[in-house]
């Protein structure tokens, strides 16, 4: 009979045992009667000889080996009954655990997904990345620190040739986020849509060890000049856009007006070589990259645009490989005239783990996520303090019960085990609730961090790790705070405890309980101050003067190059765009430019004044049409703006911003009429004809520090084609997007809207990061406050309950209600004040650690501090007044009689 059978056939075994022992007893009696003893006497003797029948039974039961499990089941059943009996306690405890652990599991879900997860590829540990920075998207020339992370096509090919240490060395486009391709399936009636396309080397999929989900993946033979243009589709795109339709494989797609054959679908779950909110929809081989997608620049040996990841052969050591690659890189850069001897001496390359791909998102979010982890940890501490307090109170309340049980003969270990089971049960239920919280929390967090239709390859479903994490935290909390009260409960000598029972008059909550409340108050004040600071920081950022007008402005982006326009055609396109958009009723101004304010792009070029090569700076170049400055609300401060008279044949002019003037001219000196050159080549210099305000273009943190110059759309410049259209209307127009789409279709059916946003939305999206932090801090601060209030309330009401008879005596002796309320409230507020005394210095210290994530705040502001203190005190009053009023309404006679 196996253990399980013994467990299941318990009833049968019990009756057998009883029958067997009774048979023994009866036979014994019968023997005695036979030997001449009277029956009554025989029975008495037999009973004496036999000993305690229940003791024997218990010993026999133990031999089954199932007893512990049975008593465990018993404990669970009993524990559940106990929890049901105290719904208030159970609810508070489960809620506290759910919120505390749930908050942690939420953050851990993201940390795990963003920071810890490897790419879903074969053996990610043997992958290395060349370089340690996630640069975007294209650059050239020497780096000041000599460390290179992006490479040109030629450099890639050379490195690949000279390093047999790699099984495969693959290249992929860096920062493809900005390079949407416009895609239309051949034969379909739908408009062309922007999709993410990433250019990769032919061995990319082979290097990662990936198998196609359908068709085949790109191989080396596809990545040679003159090969038929092909593309592999991502699984997510195949599923979400094309409904897993098999006919996609082999179909022709028009990408930036060029025919491309889709040869297969990448495996499910593969989201490219980096974590990104815009994972690639299509993978395209580098060698067939057409000029329309920037192919000309990519074939330029000085243009770095590739990230390199390789799979090293087994046994290859990293350090020598890194030295070899650095030396090779030096050799490659040595003949380049842009590199001085000093630059060459500094050239080196750092190998980093490539298992997680290029970690640009990790770089962006690491500090935020770490901060959030700390915050969530603090919340968990507060939650644990609450649980500890609740269990302590409960343990003491049940002292009498335990004493009765001990007096009745229950073993101490059995009592401890029972209490432990109960707290584990509580932790288990809390843990389950926490999983639900973390699922919802992670969804909310992802929505906060990546609003709109971004496709971050992160699932909010808790992973095995998160599950384990939540269970572990729950168990530790349960055991830690279950054991202490159970020992207190079991230790009490039953007689003493029974004698005192509930009649204690002195003492209320223990020092430990009060200490926990003080700790909670201190931690909450830290979190509240933090929440205040982060929302202040966000407010400051958003209310920074950006020197623009966003009311009734809409911004849309197109890609003329992708629609097949050539250099000689774009000027006509710009004119048509201006005309057609002006024809829309309600449109006031139409601005056309390369970038718009608060869009985030930033193309910097070295500029210097003509004839004064020593005076130089790095400045952003934007080309604009005549109405652009009005359309975005930038005011002309001096001279003139760009006008319709600035044409391809008129003098080469530029309007510069205030920061440009500040960087290159002496105070008071007029820049009008001065000339400057930009870029490496001795191109045609610009004549400054006007100065405009320093409108914010990338980040308000850089206000006043970003020199910019604006050239006319129609004159040659460093910038590419203009792709941004700003439409100012006289009144809000909710149908602007469809109107714009129609207008563009009428001009050219290949002109797709790549992005449409109101100006306000574009500005708001620049603060997503900060808004997320601020919202989360507020959430966590509120959570902390709630938990601390519950904790304080619990301890205060416990004190009141313990002191009921004392209060009764006081009132019988003439104390009035206000006096009683004041007495109870005083002790509650005293604990809060202690918490403030500890918490405020901690908050000051904490701010020094997160300073870098705050805007224009270096220490605790008085507003945030006052707010936090006021909120905590208010919460403390609420938590104190309710039990205090209860105490004051005690009827002295009943209180005394209840003893």
């Amino acid at each position: 009979m196996s253990w399980l059978q013994r467990l299941l056939s318990r009833k049968q075994l019990e009756s057998d045992l009883d029958k067997e022992l009774r048979f023994h007893f009866e036979t014994q009696v019968a023997d005695k009667i036979r030997s001449g003893i009277p029956e009554n006497e025989a029975r008495r003797l037999a009973r004496l000889e036999f000993g305690g029948i229940d003791q024997i039974k218990e010993n026999c039961r133990e031999r089954r080996g199932t007893l512990w499990f049975e008593s465990f089941l018993q404990d669970v059943g009993y524990g559940l009954r106990q929890l049901r009996k105290a719904p208030g306690f159970t609810f508070t405890a489960v809620l506290t655990l759910a919120l505390g652990i749930g908050a942690n599991a939420t953050i851990f879900t993201l940390v795990n997904a963003v920071l810890l997860r490897n790419l879903p590829v074969v053996d990610p540990k043997s992958l290395v990345r060349l370089g340690d920075r996630a640069d975007c998207c294209q650059n050239s020339g020497p780096k000041s620190d000599g460390s290179y992370s992006m490479f040109s096509t030629q450099t890639y090919e050379q490195l690949k040739r000279t390093t047999p240490e790699f099984e495969e060395l693959a290249a992929m486009q860096a920062g493809f986020e900005n390079r949407a391709v416009v895609v239309r399936r051949d034969g379909s009636q739908e408009a062309a849509k922007p999709r993410m396309g990433e250019f990769i080397s032919g061995n990319y999929f082979g290097m990662f060890g990936l198998q196609p989900a359908k068709g085949r993946l790109i191989s080396d033979s596809d990545d040679v000049a003159g090969a038929t243009p092909v593309a592999a589709m991502s699984f997510a795109t195949w599923k979400n856009v094309y409904g897993e339709n098999d006919s996609v494989v082999g179909a022709t797609f028009w990408m930036n007006t060029k025919p491309v054959t889709v040869i297969g679908v990448a495996p499910e779950g593969f989201y490219g070589d980096r974590m990104s909110s815009t994972p690639p929809d299509f993978y395209l081989p580098i060698a067939t990259m057409p000029d329309e997608m920037g192919g000309k620049g990519m074939r330029d040996p000085t243009q770095n645009w590739l990230d390199l990841i390789g799979r090293v052969k087994p046994g290859v050591a990293v350090v020598p490989l890194q030295q070899k690659l650095s030396a090779e890189l030096k050799r490659i850069y040595a003949p380049d005239p842009h590199f001085s001897a000093a630059d060459i001496a500094k050239v080196h390359l750092v190998l980093t783990a490539g298992g997680a791909g290029t970690q640009s998102m990790q770089e962006n979010y690491a500090s935020n996520l770490k901060l959030l982890m700390w915050i969530a940890g603090l919340v968990l501490m507060i939650a644990c303090a609450n649980i500890a307090n609740l269990l302590l109170v409960r343990g003491m309340q049940r002292k009498a019960e335990m004493s009765v049980r001990t007096a009745l003969g229950a073993m101490r270990t059995r009592i401890v085990r029972q209490l432990l089971t109960e707290s584990l049960l509580l932790a288990g239920i809390g843990g389950l609730a926490a999983l639900a919280v973390s699922y919802g929390g992670a969804r909310m967090l992802l929505m906060l961090a990546f609003p709109g239709d971004q496709h971050l390859p992160i699932s909010s479903r808790p992973s095995i790790e998160v599950l384990g994490f939540a269970v572990c935290v729950a168990l530790i909390t349960g055991v830690l705070f279950g054991v202490a009260p159970s020992f207190i409960g079991a230790k009490a000598p039953p007689a003493d405890a029974l004698r005192n029972g509930t009649r204690a008059t002195a003492g209320g909550a223990s020092l430990l309980q009060r200490g926990l409340v003080v700790l909670q108050a201190a931690l909450s004040v830290v979190l509240l101050v933090g929440a205040g600071l982060f929302s202040q920081s966000l407010g400051k950022l958003q209310h920074t003067e950006m020197k623009l007008e966003s009311k009734n402005r809409y911004i849309l982006h197109i890609n003329a190059q992708a629609a097949g326009y050539k250099d000689e055609q774009v000027n006509a396109l710009y004119r048509t765009l201006e005309e057609r958009f002006h024809e829309i009723p309600g449109v006031v101004k139409v601005g056309v430019s390369t970038f718009t304010p608060m869009e985030g792009n930033d193309d910097g070029y070295g500029v210097h004044l003509v004839g004064q090569p020593g005076i130089q700076t790095s400045a952003t170049n934007i080309i604009v049409n005549a109405e652009y400055f009005d359309s975005v609300g930038t005011h002309v401060l001096m001279g003139r703006g760009i006008t319709a008279h600035d044409t391809a044949t008129s003098p080469h002019v530029a309007v510069v911003n205030e920061d440009f003037v500040k960087a290159l001219f002496k105070p008071g000196e007029s820049p009008i009429g001065h000339r400057f050159s930009a870029g490496d080549e001795p191109a045609q210099p610009y004549e400054i004809v006007g100065v405009v305000e320093g409108t914010s273009y990338t980040d308000v943190r850089r206000n006043g520090k970003r020199p910019m110059y604006f050239g006319p759309l129609t004159q040659p410049s460093e910038a590419g084609y203009a792709g941004a259209i700003v439409v100012e209307t006289s009144h809000p127009m909710s149908d602007m997007e469809s109107t714009a789409r129609r207008t563009l279709m009428e001009i050219n059916s290949n002109l797709a809207i790549q992005k449409f946003e109101t100006f306000d939305a574009q500005i708001a999206s620049r603060f997503t990061h900060e808004r997320m932090l601020s919202t989360l801090m507020k959430l966590f601060g509120g959570l902390a406050l709630l938990l601390a209030t519950v904790g304080l309330y619990g301890v205060t009401s416990y004190t009141v309950a313990r002191r009921t008879s004392e209060i009764g005596i006081r009132m019988a002796l003439g104390a009035d209600r206000t006096g009683v309320v004041a007495m109870i409230l005083r002790s509650a507020l005293l604990q809060t004040l202690f918490g403030l005394v500890i918490g405020i210095p901690v908050a000051f210290y904490g701010v020094t650690l997160v300073k870098s994530q705050l805007y224009e705040l270096t220490t605790v502001s008085s507003d945030a501090l006052l707010m936090a203190v006021a909120m905590l005190l208010a919460a403390a009053c609420v938590a104190g007044v309710i039990p205090a009023r209860g105490a004051a309404s005690v009827d002295p006679v009943r209180a005394l009689r209840s003893e």
Binding site: D16, K19, E20, F23, Q28, F50, N59, R63
Partner: protein
Amino acid sequence: MKTENRFDLPQGTLDLLIMRVVALAPIHGYAIAQRIQQMSREALQVQQGSLYPALHRLEYKKLLVAKWQPTETGREAKYYELTARGRAYLKDETENWKRLTDVVGLILKGTVEGIS
């Protein structure tokens, strides 16, 4: 009661005695106790409190197997008998026991001063 004649049985010996008695024929618990008492010439009196847990343990270890059978008086009793495994176990353990007692006997043979 012959408490002065009772031995404290060394660990595991009771199992051996029970199995030896069971080896003769299928037998119920009461008879096992009687039999051990008789065979030891009243020197050993097995208490129910030790007998039944031991029987059950041996049963769960699959050294004994039990079935319910009527006795001569017509009552149902739980009869134990050895399994093949129990028989082999008894044989091994009996030999071990004999070797052990021989060895211990060798050493304790003769009288030592101070011990009578």
